[in-house]
């Protein structure tokens, strides 16, 4: 029983992290129909920057967010303006896969070149501490990563729901032509949306690296599950992705008890197959996703 509780708690923490990692990915698709294969490469890049920051300054790696979040936002806006807008609208989704695949390879190559292929781990002063929670021992780093995810997703929710920019972004996602016709500059909104998606990658990558060993090719391990999450959640729907992430995170954690870690990972692909067979528009995006 306590193993179950332990797995459930770890599953919830994992689900929260997945929700953050997937939120940017679904945002790019929602705003621009862009499949951003390089999202997970940017996660790993952020993780390396956090590691580099911590080893150089001796400060807590989380402080690197002060630099990486604005940096990633600017890089995202630049990428969208300089590269994504050059793709033809008719084949945008397809070509964006190729383009961002190339970006992922470039990031991986750069990381290997600058930091070598050696596995790295960020050192935290509270790295080996754990706290008892409902009879289970939960590592502090996992709790902090979860808190980071909740904070970042909360901020994303506030931006999308409560600001003028968020209104314009959601309007652009829901009906681009109608958004143009009420006077929204949908090109500018799209580039800021891309920047916002990449900014979530800065937080997500750092949260991810709190409890993981990183190496340049690690992003290949992440892109599959994250893609599965956004398809199950309904492409383009941030709340849908968050719910799917939570469900799949908990399932994965619980399935590790009977199946072990390797087989539990297949839950993402099983969910993906089932979704594509019975509900291709996703389970939680519903009406919104159908509009694409």
């Amino acid at each position: 029983m306590s193993l179950f509780v332990q797995s459930l708690i770890l599953g919830i923490l994992l689900g929260g992290l997945y929700a953050l990692l997937a939120s940017g990915l679904t945002l790019y698709f929602g705003v621009m129909r862009v499949v951003q294969i390089a999202h997970s490469a940017f996660l790993i890049l952020a993780a390396y920057l956090a590691w580099f920051f911590a080893t150089r300054t001796g400060l807590d790696a989380l402080l690197s967010l002060v630099i990486t979040v604005p940096l990633f936002f600017v890089v995202g806006v630049g990428l969208q303006r300089l590269l994504i807008t050059r793709l033809k609208p008719a084949t945008l989704t397809m070509m964006s896969v190729l383009l961002t695949f190339a970006i992922a390879l470039i990031i991986e190559g750069m990381l290997g070149f600058v930091f070598t292929g050696v596995q790295r781990r960020i050192h935290f002063s509270y790295g080996s501490a754990s706290v008892p929670l409902f009879g289970a021992e939960v590592p502090v780093v996992k709790l902090v990563a979860f808190a980071l995810a909740v904070l970042a997703l909360g901020a994303l929710w506030l931006i999308l729901k409560k600001t003028g920019f968020g209104q314009a972004l959601r309007a652009t996602i829901q009906n681009k032509e109608a958004a143009q016709l009420v006077g929204i500059n949908t090109d500018r909104v799209a580039s800021y949306g891309f920047g916002l998606g990449l900014a979530t990658a800065a937080v997500g990558g750092t949260a991810l690296a709190m409890d993981a060993t990183i190496y340049p090719s690690l992003h290949w391990h992440w892109i599959g599950p994250l893609m599965a999450i956004i398809v199950v959640g309904g492409l383009g729907s941030v709340p849908g992705a968050a719910i799917a992430a939570m469900v799949l995170g908990i399932s994965q954690s619980l399935l590790q008890i009977p199946l072990g870690t390797t087989w539990a990972q297949t839950v993402f692909y099983v969910a993906l197959f089932v979704t594509l067979m019975v509900r291709p528009q996703g389970f939680f995006g519903g009406r919104l996703a159908q509009r694409f």
Partner: protein, 266 residues
């Protein structure tokens, strides 16, 4: 009709749209040639004029280029030749955002509410380009008064409303900028006859409230019964234009473009 002097009231104080200059037509499309990419032209020298406080209805078969006319008017498509005048001012080179400020609002074909947002958010987005809060409040009260359903369903998600209710939200949203002319693309599409009748009544209400209307319809007979001026679009040009009642009465036109005898349902 086109030479009639405008009777529009003086602009409200604090209005952000340009004051009316008193040109004979609020909207003029002159000699428009337009098309998509390298494909053949869709519009080949089309001229349409919309006087103040008038519903002008453009009818024509599916694919005739009706939506294209509205795209050219609202700046979503740049014409290859010809000019677009709003209240006597040349806006041909303006994009959609500037056209909105010039006084043109476009309601798209099909559903164009933001479905995952509330009616309130939809209406407020209609005033996205208006910075003056007092003016937004005033326009909100105005559209709530004109379209009661907007106030009744204020907090509902727009996507959950019926087709006819969504159309009214779209109309209300387009009126938030106090446009000189609204461009309506097939507002009756997908609606049952009763709702269609209600929507056409709303169009008359909009005209009576001071906005000129350029209406595009496949449901030609019903639209001409509502409109003041009718135009028939054929092969990218105006085939005929005149008082809507005359078009309806013309037996040859009826047979060719309006789907048979007067009392047949289209």
């Amino acid at each position: 009709m086109a030479s009639e002097q405008p009777t529009s009231p003086a602009p409200e104080p604090g209005s952000e749209t340009a004051p009316r200059t008193g040109a004979a037509n609020l909207l003029e499309l002159n000699g428009i040639e337009a098309g998509y990419g390298r494909a053949a032209l869709v519009l080949r020298g089309l001229t349409v004029k919309v006087p103040p406080r008038t519903i002008v209805c453009l009818v024509g078969p599916n694919g005739a280029g009706k939506s294209t006319v509205l795209r050219v008017a609202s700046g979503m498509l740049t014409p290859r030749a010809g000019e677009v005048l709003v209240d006597g001012v040349d806006v041909t080179r303006q994009g959609p955002q500037e056209r909105l400020a010039s006084g043109l609002a476009h309601v798209l074909q099909g559903h164009s509410v933001f479905p995952e947002m509330t009616v309130e958010e939809n209406i407020r987005l209609g005033a996205y380009s208006v910075k003056d809060r007092a003016l937004v409040a005033e326009r909100t009260a105005f559209v709530k008064d004109l379209f009661p359903v907007v106030g009744e369903r204020w907090t509902s998600l727009a996507g959950l409303l019926s087709g006819g209710q969504q159309k009214q939200v779209e109309f209300a949203r387009s009126l938030m900028v106090d446009p000189k002319v609204v461009l309506l693309d097939e507002p009756s599409m997908g609606l049952d006859p009763k709702t269609t009748a209600a929507v056409f009544e709303q169009i008359v209400t909009m005209r009576d409230a001071g906005t000129a209307v350029l209406l595009v319809e496949q449901n030609a007979r019903r639209a001409l019964e509502t409109a003041d001026i009718g135009c028939v679009l054929d092969l990218g040009r105006l085939h005929i234009t005149g008082p809507a009642a005359d078009l309806l009465a013309d037996p040859e036109l009826s047979a060719l473009y309006l789907g048979g005898r007067p009392h047949e349902r289209t």
